[in-house]
Subunit: 144 residues, 2 copies
């Protein structure tokens, strides 16, 4: 278990014409302030990783498709290893990721998947570390 990483179930409200789907409120558990909101699409089977935000708290929601997130914690003192979270409309939840955790994610639906990140700070390259996919050994192929 990666300390301070957790999911929160979200409401989907059946509304005439199309559903309303919650993402995050200022009062939500895990809300860490607002800096930027952006989407990231991920194609079927594709993997984006690894990135480590050293300052940003991520709040991730998947309103389209299905995405597997893999968190890797090599923080001194915790070193809790890998933890997986799969989000989709069928498991409609928000994933909160604290700073200093390596994150990779893979598209698991045949159509494109999409995440929304509500980040507490604006994008800033200086707080992001990047590794190649092979630099952290994880068996992605088992997960499809």
């Amino acid at each position: 278990m990666v300390k301070n990483a957790f999911t929160t179930p979200l409401d989907i409200i059946d509304t005439p014409g199309g559903n309303v789907m919650h993402a995050i409120k200022k009062s939500s558990e895990g809300y860490a302030g607002f800096g930027e909101a952006y989407f990231s699409q991920i194609k079927y089977g594709n993997i984006k990783g690894w990135k480590r935000h050293n300052s940003m708290t991520l709040n991730l929601v998947v309103p389209i498709g299905k995405i597997k997130f893999v968190l890797f914690d090599d923080r001194k003192g915790s070193n809790s290893g890998f933890q997986e979270f799969t989000l989709s409309i069928d498991n409609y939840s928000r994933l909160t990721v604290p700073p200093k955790i390596w994150v990779g994610f893979q598209g698991l639906s045949e159509s494109n998947s999409m995440l929304l990140n509500i980040a507490d700070i604006q994008h800033n390259r200086l707080e992001v570390d990047v590794l190649e996919l092979d630099d952290i050994k994880y068996n992605w192929s088992e997960t499809k």
Copy 2:
């Protein structure tokens, strides 16, 4: 023209595995604070309307499908009537709507469309006025 309603073009960043699509930053024009983020889906041809938020500023982004927004301004002193905005991935922009404007919207893509609203306050029924679609005369059928 509805005073203080405007669109801002947004960047789509071509990224291996799937695009990154901006939505809003704390420093963006039109950002009015953070209260809540939610999605609203709209089926093809369906219309949601009318709602008037008396306190909330809306910041609307359409990452999926195509949505026509119709704003109706009957504020004393402005009374600027109707203004239409159509958002989609091909016209990827953020629509900022100030308080006290009537808003309706229609799904224009055959697959479901979806908007994200980054609202400056949390949902509060007390600040929302609702009218039936027929209560504000607008020819939606011409717009399909």
